[in-house]
Amino acid sequence: MTGAPLIDIEDLRIDLNHGSSQVPAVEGVSFRIDRGETFGLVGESGCGKSITALALIGLLRPPLSVGGGVIRFDGREIQRLPATAQRALRGNRIAMIFQEPMTALNPVSPVGRQIAEMFVLHKGKSWREANQLAVEALARVRVPAPERRVKDYPHQLSGGMRQRVMIAIALACGPDLLIADEPTTALDVTVQAEIIELMRTLCAERGTAILMISHDLGLVANVCRRVAVMYAGRIVEERGSADIFRTPSHPYTQGLVASLPRLGSRAALGRTRLKEIAGVVPAITSFPDGCRFNPRCAQATDICRATAPETSLLEAGGLVRCHHHA
């Protein structure tokens, strides 16, 4: 890949401020996304994947704040930009869709207007023009009868339709990056399949990069070219998606891949006892010392309990943060 990456995050830290004390919820996170690339961020709830995305688009709200590190978009440091310039990026060049399409849309505003806002905000269109463009945008996300649907309110649409509207909003201004935070978790599998395909096709058509965030490693691996796995506020492994599934390197990733019953596995291998990851996910306020996975890791040694591992390059490409990586 030539030229600067679209997104370049270096050593990002996000603090949870609690009165005067601060707890890092995310620490030492670095990754890059190139133009048109699909990148996945996988992790369990509370691992920091969503707030990393929010930091990226500048939407962290108190008590969370960026505590350190650099976020570059298209070569420019986002945090250094004035507020207006940041806003001009948001929605226009970096767009985001959220998990719950019911609550992510304003319940008392017609969906057409919520799409049209984008054209008014970023393209300087009049409301009349914007409304026309909104119809087209809805058509692009394959909503039937878009000219009627623009007048509908979110509650009049099904979950899948709402998520299409969200995609229409996000892609309205042809952004360079689409952040999709658990875009299909609230949907049924068949609808999920449709939405994923729609997202994938539309982004591929216009070269929009995707940062997909999910707890579902299978889904992310299916959608994205590269995947980063987060655990307890840190990226523990970053690989090509096929690699991470075939030869997971970090013990946590290994555990994830092995612990879940996957379709067809019983037919192929018979019903075996699932591999368990022992213990519980730590809370933000009680991350363990050393490697944050060490209390749950079967391979943990003293060094794991004492020192936090640095990321190391894997021979097959990719990064891992483990003292004992395979």
């Binding site: 688009i57 939407l59 709200r61 207006t84 806003r87 001009a88 990026l89 948001r90 929605g91 226009n92 767009a95 985001m96 959220f98 719950e100 609550t103 992510a104 849309l105 304003n106 319940p107 008392v108 505003s109 017609p110 806002e117 984008m118 905000l121 970023h122 309110y153 509650h155 009049q156 969200m166 909003i169």
Partner: protein, 307 residues
């Protein structure tokens, strides 16, 4: 829409009937009767004849029945006390009461809602703290005491406003009573608005709006206000009921010729038809306001449909 209206109006009938029955039941056991306060010399014959004339010699259920029958024709009966038709009495009192209540509510909305917005947009700031201290203080004062203090300040010390009465119906007569009455809904509205805005500001769709690149003012203008209105409207609707109650005190204090003071007088003098009529009008007013609020919901919140 129309069928919704009709259905809603039909739904109020049992409530109205229950109110009538309730008041009838209450005042059929009340001690003291209008008759003894009206005939000074206490001639038992005269009293008996009076009771006959007023229908008080009939059993309660008969009176209830005939009252309902008359009510259906719009006849609220005749006041024991003034011997006027209750309809006329109430008609004269309705205007001032509505004036007072709507003025109080307008005061509450005009002051309370912006106050709530300002507080919510700067939570924890001095403005916020000050606004909420004012609001909670407004809620915590005995109404008539507050009225007296306002009267003392604005009429006597500053001389800006007349202290009492309806005067010629001019605005300056309305200000003090409306303020006194409006303080607690103002406080409640400020608090509700603040809470509503704060809550909405954390809603997912506000995050969506921000992710679109909107400035905070635009987020508030385009997405928060209308959603907050739904909650503000609910509080407003409920406050009308409380206002009707408080109006009793305020009207009496300011010699305001409204239904509230009519009601108190009628209660104290056992003028049952007038009590009955006043309470009924108050209830009908409350129901009407809430019907209106429900209709407004439909305008503001598309999720509510009149199926």
């Amino acid at each position: 829409m129309l069928s919704f209206l009709i259905r809603r109006i039909l739904q109020t009938i049992p409530t109205v009937l229950a109110v009538v029955l309730l008041v009838f039941a209450l005042f059929s056991v009340v001690p003291g009767s209008i008759v003894s306060t009206m005939s000074d010399d206490g001639d038992p014959q005269v009293e008996a004849r009076m009771k006959t004339q007023l229908g008080l010699d009939q059993p309660v259920y008969v009176r209830f029945g005939s009252y309902i029958a008359n009510l259906a024709t719009g006849d609220f009966g005749t006041s024991f006390r003034t011997r006027e038709p209750v309809t006329t009495m109430i008609a004269k009192r309705t205007g001032p009461t509505l004036q007072l209540i709507f003025a109080a509510m307008a005061f509450a909305i005009v002051i309370g809602v912006p106050l709530g917005f300002i507080s919510a947009l700067r939570p924890g700031s001095i403005v916020d703290t000050a606004a909420m201290v004012v609001a909670v203080s407004g809620l915590s004062m005995a109404k008539f005491w507050l009225g007296l203090l306002l009267m003392y300040l604005f009429a006597l010390k500053l001389g800006w406003l007349p202290s009492f009465g309806y005067g010629d119906g001019g605005l300056k007569y309305l200000i003090l009573p409306a303020m006194t009455l409006g303080v607690s809904p103002m406080a409640l509205l400020a608090r509700t608005t603040r809470a509503a805005v704060l809550e909405i500001m954390t809603a997912d769709f506000v995050r969506t709006a921000r992710s679109k690149g909107m400035s905070e003012t635009r987020v508030v203008k385009w997405h928060v206000t209308r959603n907050a209105l739904v909650l503000i409207l609910t509080t407003t609707g409920l406050q009308f009921g409380a206002l009707m109650g408080q109006a009793v005190v305020v009207e009496k204090l300011f010699s305001w010729p409204g239904i509230g003071s009519l009601l108190v007088d009628s209660v104290l003098q056992r003028d049952i038809p007038a009590v009955q009529g006043s309470i009924l009008v108050v209830v009908l007013f409350f129901l009407a306001v809430n019907l209106l609020i429900d209709l407004l919901y439909g305008v503001i919140d598309p999720r509510i449909r009149y199926a």
